[in-house]
Amino acid sequence: MNLTFSQEELEFRDQIRRVFENEFPDDIRVQRDSGVTISPDDQVRFQKWLFERGWSAVNWPKEYGGTGWTPVQKYLFMQELAEVNAPDIVPFGLSMVGPVIYTFGNDDQKQRFLPDILESNVWWCQGYSEPGSGSDLASLKTRADLDGDHYVVNGTKTWTTLAQHADWIFCLVRTNSDVARRQEGISFVLVDMNSPGVSVKPIITIEGEHEVNEVHFEDVRVPVTNLVGEEGKGWTYGKVLLQHERTNIAAVHHSKFRLRRLREQAERSVRGATPLVQNPSFMRKLAAVEVELKALEFTELRTLAAVSAGKAPGPESSILKFVGTEIQQAIDELYVDAAGYYALPFVPEQYAPDFARDERIGEGNETRASSRYFNFRKASIYGGSNEIQKNIVAKHVLGL
């Protein structure tokens, strides 16, 4: 048993750290620290910055332009990424559809799509959920009917994150309704968002932001060359995609960063007030979340060690998603607690990068706390709600 990373791993980490310290775009760092919303242009600029260093496709093998990193290297990279408070990498291209294309796509599709994903030239979004199918994904109704060398797609996808910026969408669609199991007859297709018949309608979420959308398909003609893999096998591909989503699913690094920043905030005295660190009730709650997070960090490292040793991860890996999101939400609550009265102002325009700083409300980022708290109630709902995750663990781990 050994608690430390190897010398080579530590050198790798230091190398990454030096690059982040010396080369990370300063203006993006300032935006992140001040809590403003990152614009799509800056998001793309950040991802291109990663690409220029060969770091955009953390999970991909080398032959497709990925890093080819070991699980430990990926872990350390994500840690450094969180430590500089970098924006999240938008997952839909690099973490989701990319791996599906290089695993199940044909050569033509790999050449057409992968380079632009790597370079963040094309913004992807995910067409899974539908108005009638949330956690019960296999009940999806969007259909793709074959007509010559095209599919004709009709239906509605929902909760489509950042579809308003997207150039392409990957969709699970029903190509066959006459099946024994609902999971059959589903196919994985790639759709150009500029196709006639595609329309995007914003859904304003609880905190007042435009993050998700409904995407409507009305007789949208999609070339059969955009079908990935075999017709009717989309469910299997979709599950593989979810496995790729596993890296960093617990968001341990990000939560560690946020807790540390919260502690720093709690230690500061604002205008002579008693700092929050002297409030035992608050500090007990903070300490309890820190313990839970430390446990999850080592639960993730146990998974990592198993995968690195070429073994299948044990039951510990199955709890990462729901414990990780519970912790994220617990931290959100602590930030709201810490904000006091400044949890109240609802002034979304102050998070635009061009909002005059001296007109902003509050001392620090406290007014961000409630919007994040409201928004992140989604974390225990998306990606298969936490109740669904527990159903899965009960069935596959406990054998119930």
């Binding site: 048993m1 050994n2 608690l3 430390t4 990373f5 791993e9 430990v72 660190v277 035992p280 500090m283 007990r284 903070l286 300490a287 309890a288 820190e290 313990v291 839970e292 430390k294 446990a295 999850l296 960090e297 080592f298 639960t299 490292l301 146990r302 990592l304 060690a305 040793a309 039951p315 510990e316 709890i319 729901f322 414990v323 109740e387 527990k390 159903n391 663990v393 009960a394 781990v397 406990l398 054998g399 119930l400």
Partner: protein, 374 residues
């Protein structure tokens, strides 16, 4: 980063697992627990023959020179087997103080017997008023030309009623809460002037209230530097905390496994109760509590084994987790077992009681959370 065991560690774990599965079923345990000493002398001798009592002692002292990782491996399995033999009291607590502070002569006199399983020992530090504050010592040791006169009351001394050797803390100087001035003394269990009131504890083990008034000990009975015992006591209690947390993880794991199995066989309304989603999610929560606790156990144990900074913080994190998660797992296991869960007959009830006792030892969840919340 490596969570795998060395060949020696694997052999040690295998030997404990094999013994417990072959020779230590629940009925046997209950019989030992109900015997006058609360454990089996014969089993204790076997522990010694198998080398387990020698684990943390240096090779020079006649041991194997192992550390916290090996203790953790053994204690987790002792938890699974609900072992009542006083490993914690002898090897971790009394043995821990002796090996850290003993002079060559003191170790020569006592350690051999302890490792051979012939001498029973106990660490008598906690007092009725001290709760979890290790510096709170009211017992006194007054020096004179023949040695020391000890007076005081030691509370809930684990294995105290069986001890041939008591390691007793008392103040040679300072006020009741001073860090300086606490000393340890080696006192034979049959010394004149000791009043030992032995009793059973709720977890099927034994402890004692020990009182002494002007008990005479020689000058060479002092263990370590006079007045400087607190750091040693803290270090011993840290290691003991790790040990009971490992035991608790073993108990939580076995309770979760048994509860899941039971829910598959217990039929109500024509179906196994494990098919009810309300119970499934609660058992997933039990599994989660086990995995999270085990993760913290590995972290804290490896920090302690490396002697790294932050060990005390890690141990408090772990003990808080064990206090809260252990309570949750214990209560849920009893609940899902239904009426049978609250019978003396079923092992679940006894696992629950041991888990509850561990929650109270060496600082409960509140105590350790307060240490973290600064």
């Amino acid at each position: 980063m490596d969570f795998s065991l060395s060949e020696e560690q694997q052999m040690l774990e295998d030997s404990v697992a094999k013994y417990l599965s072959n020779d230590y079923d629940f009925d046997t345990r209950q019989r030992y627990s109900g015997s006058p000493k609360g454990y089996s002398d014969e089993v204790w001798k076997q522990f010694a023959e198998l080398g387990w009592t020698a684990v943390p002692f240096s090779e020079a002292d006649g041991g194997f020179g192992y550390g916290p990782v090996e203790i953790m491996l053994m204690m987790r399995l002792f938890g699974r087997g609900l072992v009542v033999e006083p490993y914690l009291a002898n090897v971790v607590l009394a043995g821990g103080a002796l090996r850290r502070s003993g002079s060559d002569a003191q170790k020569a006199e006592w350690l051999g017997g302890l490792i051979a399983g012939e001498t029973q020992a106990a660490l008598a530090h906690i007092e009725p008023q001290s709760r979890y504050e290790l510096d709170n010592v009211a017992s006194t040791a007054v020096a004179d030309d023949q040695g020391y006169l000890l007076s005081g009351h030691k509370a809930v001394v684990l294995n105290g009623g069986n001890a041939d050797l008591l390691i007793v803390s008392a103040r040679t100087s300072g006020g009741q809460n001073d860090a300086d001035g606490i000393s340890l003394f080696l006192v034979p269990g049959d010394a004149d002037g000791l009043t030992v009131r032995r009793y059973a504890t709720v977890d099927g083990q034994q402890a004692a209230e020990i009182e002494f008034d002007n008990l005479r000990v020689a000058a060479d009975a002092c263990l370590g530097e006079p007045g400087q015992a607190l750091p040693v006591i803290r270090s011993v209690f840290d290691e003991a905390t790790l040990a009971v947390c490992a035991e608790a993880v073993g108990i939580m794991q076995v309770m979760t496994e048994k509860t899941v199995e039971y829910s598959k066989s217990r039929v109500q309304f024509g179906v196994p109760i494990g098919s009810f989603q309300a119970l499934q999610h609660r058992m997933v929560d039990m599994l989660t509590a086990c995995e999270q606790s085990y993760s913290l156990l590995l972290w804290a144990t490896m920090l302690a084994a490396d002697g790294q900074e932050g060990t005390a913080h890690a141990i408090s994190s772990l003990k808080y987790q064990i206090g809260t998660a252990g309570k949750k797992v214990g209560q849920e296991a009893v609940q899902i077992h239904g009426g049978m869960g609250v019978t003396w007959e079923l092992d679940i009830a006894h696992y629950f009681k041991r888990l509850t006792a561990i929650g109270q030892l060496f600082g409960n969840a509140d105590f350790h959370l307060d240490r973290l919340a600064v």
